[in-house]
Symmetry: C3
Subunit: 139 residues, 3 copies
């Protein structure tokens, strides 16, 4: 069995952002030399997500508005977590809806995707350096 | 390390449906000849889910009503995504709540399940042919 | 390829609880002797979750209130599932938001975590014995 590990770094200019990281994950699969296996892609921070959906700007706007409705950022003092001095209580909730990680099959040396699947980094408390882990195992 | 891959196809007669796919995944584990490993089961389409829960009709009705409340199908024009000509903006949101994939342990050649765990395909934009990927790795 | 399996048992004194199970999973990784691979940690029951987030009491209180708002326990008869004689319809919904499982990379014999990642058992219908599965594969 082979294994491969890489960290991807992000520093978004806005609090919330969705970034298509499919090219970096595809590159990782190539570098790994693994043709059959699983690729795990996970946020290493607990106010961010990795998820798979469509690379369509309108949809991303819908996600932002929907998540804001489900877990509003303000008022800040509605979250007990923010009594620690943080203002990111909402981000911990949003990340649970969108998920921490995806596991993608690797087949014949490629991400084994349906027609529209793309991998996104979802940032809910940005403006600082944060990481995504890519770990691939297989043969 | 062995690996196994299979696609399951669906074409539901209704927009939304939950289908128990446990027998097909169990069959895949048998076919794979893998006794210890992981089975990944994921929707290959971004308006559908794969999830694990109870095979109980009342619960499935609860899920449908709850998801419709969290992300209503209508009015269609509430979703920016639907400006692309689609009417499935809600389906992309519902799928995030229910999830894209499950990873199930394979132990002694069987899905390593708790007492009530069953795998479901969750369709939120049906009435066309769509796929689920089963990928198993192990020994 | 090596594989390792362990069950963790819980019996919470309250209906809802969050328990940090990171030490038990770290112990499992050690026992497995696996240095590079994946650890799957999943609830074996369908009214419980395994998820990764922060070990901060205020945040856990926020999760409880938020989930209660998204899927209230009462009135019991709002859920079709409860017509079976159960009163845990809400717990099946809450578990979908928080997730069934996490997959964590194992690197150099350790859980490959970001700075604040901790693994939690999330109980939404407790006061009876329930299990979490830890399955690790790799080399």
């Amino acid at each position: 069995m082979k294994s491969y590990r890489k960290e991807l770094w992000f520093n978004t200019s806005t609090r919330r952002a969705f970034i298509n990281i499919t090219p970096q994950v595809e590159e990782s699969v190539k570098e790994s030399g693994i043709s059959e296996g699983f690729a795990l892609v996970n946020a290493m921070h607990i106010t961010a997500s990795v998820f798979i959906n469509d690379d369509e700007r309108g949809l991303h706007q819908d996600y932002k508005e929907w998540l804001e409705n489900l877990a509003p950022h303000e008022p800040i003092d509605q979250y007990s977590h923010n009594r620690t001095g943080e203002d990111n209580g909402d981000a911990h909730l949003k990340r649970q809806v969108m998920g921490r990680e995806v596991v993608v099959a690797v087949t014949e040396g490629k991400l084994d995707f349906g027609p529209w699947e793309q991998i996104f980094y979802g940032e809910f408390d940005g403006r600082r350096r944060k990481r995504v882990l890519v770990k691939i195992i297989g043969e």
